[in-house]
């Protein structure tokens, strides 16, 4: 069997929801039925095979090829399998993901991994704003799983994040971890303004004290935190800088906040 390949015939002018084209939804379906699935492109309704050229037959391993920056909800809600995007992807990549792996070789749009509960998303490039964050109207964002970002993350990374881990090898924008409920965000580069605004619980791990800190974060001193050795060990082998961390180097400077809310969150600055 070979991967089921969706090659865009041309870049769509409007956004297209391709959330139903995921391994869990397509399992067991013959290629003819997959080709006949309806997709909404602006006001028009197109068959899958009008938008994509199809080849391959493995519904557990999907590949999107072409300019996919207008394709939204790629891999949404899938429980298992693998989805690869060759190039950029649109917004809501892996929305509500339950299991399996989504890989994007380029950049991803806004709200990547929102509502994700399990599995793994790897974005080789940048992610837009509110990656792992809650979409408007939702009480929580990412609720499990692992989001790996090779490049930079936009503003409000992990907004209202409930559980899971986000690892960013580059920089993160303003309000990183805002209104965070729990979970872990690690950023290897720099943070924008006011990380952890409204943060209730959860952990932000950074390499340097952010330039613009909220007054609601209080310095609790430098400490060896044993859980970090387990955390770093669990990341061993991951692509990017976090896969190479020394598991024994777990002394950090701990800031607790945001004291404007419950103040049980923490910003850990690695030594």
């Amino acid at each position: 069997m070979s991967a089921l390949l969706f090659t865009l015939r041309s870049a769509p002018a409007q956004r297209v929801d391709v959330g139903m084209l995921n391994p869990s939804a397509l399992a067991g379906q013959p290629l003819a039925d997959i080709a006949a699935i309806s997709l909404h492109v602006g006001k028009r309704v197109l068959r899958v095979d009008e938008l994509f050229e199809l080849s391959g037959d493995d519904t557990a391993d999907l590949v999107f090829r072409g300019d996919c920056s207008k394709l939204e909800r790629i891999g949404a809600g899938m429980k298992a399998g693998r989805v690869t995007v060759e190039g950029d992807a649109g917004a809501y990549v892996g929305q509500g993901l339950l299991g399996g792996t989504i890989s994007v070789t380029g950049n991803a749009g806004a709200f990547c991994a929102t509502g994700m509960k399990g599995g793994r998303i790897e974005i080789a490039g940048d992610v837009g704003e509110s990656a792992g964050g809650a979409i408007p109207g939702e009480m929580k964002g990412m609720a499990g799983g692992l989001l790996l970002v090779g490049g930079n993350a936009g503003d409000r990374l992990g907004d209202r994040m409930r559980r899971g881990q986000i690892l960013v090898s580059g920089n993160a924008g303003d309000y990183c971890g805002t209104r965070m409920i729990a979970g872990t965000i690690a950023v290897a580069g720099s943070l924008g303004a006011y990380p952890g605004y409204g943060m209730k619980r959860g952990t932000l791990i950074v390499d340097a004290v952010p330039a613009r800190m909220l007054p609601g974060f209080v310095d609790c001193g430098a400490h060896r935190l044993g859980f970090l050795s387990l955390l770093y060990a669990s990341w061993k082998g991951l692509p990017g800088v976090f896969g190479r961390l020394d598991a024994s180097a777990c002394t950090v400077r701990r800031y607790m906040g945001d004291m404007g809310v419950t103040g049980r969150g923490e910003l850990l600055v690695r030594g």
């Binding site: 559980r163 729990a182 872990t184 619980r201 952990t203 400490h223 060896r224 935190l225 044993g226 859980f227 050795s229 387990l230 955390l231 060990a233 669990s234 598991a247 024994s248 049980r264 923490e266």
Partner: protein, 298 residues
């Protein structure tokens, strides 16, 4: 059966089904990991009055522990799930949480859940936080030397308690030296502990007593000072009897431990004053595991 001049009695050890658990204690160095482990497994020789039987299984090198620090693997056994859960909560709370630099983790991945951090976390008075790492939940409880890291839930399995054998020798010291040699070899094995002091027990018991309040009393048939006054199992040459009791996570591990220990005793042999090896049982009616000495050594 006679091995190196030691008579192996045609009898069996009778052991019981118990609930067992393995826990991994780590600390900044071996010394402090051992302090914590010794406290955790203290006063745990017999379920008759201690609530649990426990011991140190082995030392762990940093590359064998979840947090990469030196550690100690301990085993605990109790007569029921409920009792084991109670013992874990009390012992971890009083002996590991209290011990400087310590952390504690589950040593078994399979089995029934035993709350550990799940209940101890409340010591954190609201400042405790949890982390889910690689599918396992841990609690970070702030304490005066930093944070106490404890896994949320450990796992317990069906286990075996009360495997045993008796060493009958000319003198007290000869019996003790033979038992010490046996313990040295047995402690190289995994999945077992010998819960009594130094692994050896001198106060073997029989079921019942002349006193109504006691369910067990001294095993007078093996007491050398009563040889002429009771229905003794000892002949005139036997000056002392010592027992080694074994608790293990599996039937096979207890069996192997008994064989290892008995062979060590037999190596000393009659030349070292060892006359017989026997075992304690209750007629085979109480315990579900029977370890026939001759079958094990054949």
């Amino acid at each position: 059966m006679i091995i190196n001049g030691v008579t192996i009695d045609d009898t069996f050890a009778e052991a019981f089904g118990m609930r067992g658990i393995r826990l991994l204690i780590t600390a900044c160095n071996e010394t402090w990991a051992m302090h914590s482990a010794v406290a955790l497994t203290g006063f745990a020789t017999s379920v008759i009055a201690c609530g649990a039987e426990a011991g140190i299984e082995r030392m762990l090198s940093p590359d064998e522990t979840p947090d990469g620090r030196p550690g100690v693997s301990v085993l605990l056994f109790a007569v029921s799930s409920k009792e084991l859960i109670k013992q874990i909560e009390r012992r971890v709370g009083q002996c590991v949480l209290t011990s400087p630099t310590s952390a504690i983790f589950a040593g078994l991945d399979e089995g029934d859940p035993v709350p550990m951090g799940k209940t101890l976390r409340y010591f954190g008075d609201g400042f405790q936080t949890s982390k889910q790492i690689a599918g396992k939940r841990y609690w970070r409880i702030p304490v005066m030397d930093g944070e106490f890291l404890v896994q949320d839930t450990a796992r317990m399995v069906k286990a075996v308690g009360g495997g045993n054998f008796l060493v009958l020798a000319d003198t007290q010291m000869q019996a003790l030296e033979a038992c010490e040699a046996a313990i040295v070899d047995m402690r190289k094995l995994r999945e077992i502990v010998m819960p009594f002091p130094g692994g050896v027990v001198r106060s073997g018991s029989k079921v019942g007593s002349k006193y109504k309040a006691l369910s067990a009393s001294t095993n007078d048939a093996f007491c050398p000072t009563l040889r002429g006054a009771t229905k003794s199992e000892l002949d005139e040459r036997i000056g002392a009897v010592l027992e080694i009791v074994i608790d293990g996570l599996t039937d096979a591990s207890v069996r192997l431990a008994m064989e290892t220990g008995m062979r060590a005793v037999c190596r000393i042999g009659a030349a070292g004053g060892i006359r017989r090896i026997s075992a304690g049982n209750y007629g085979g009616k109480l315990g579900q595991f029977h370890y026939h000495l001759r079958e094990i050594l054949s």
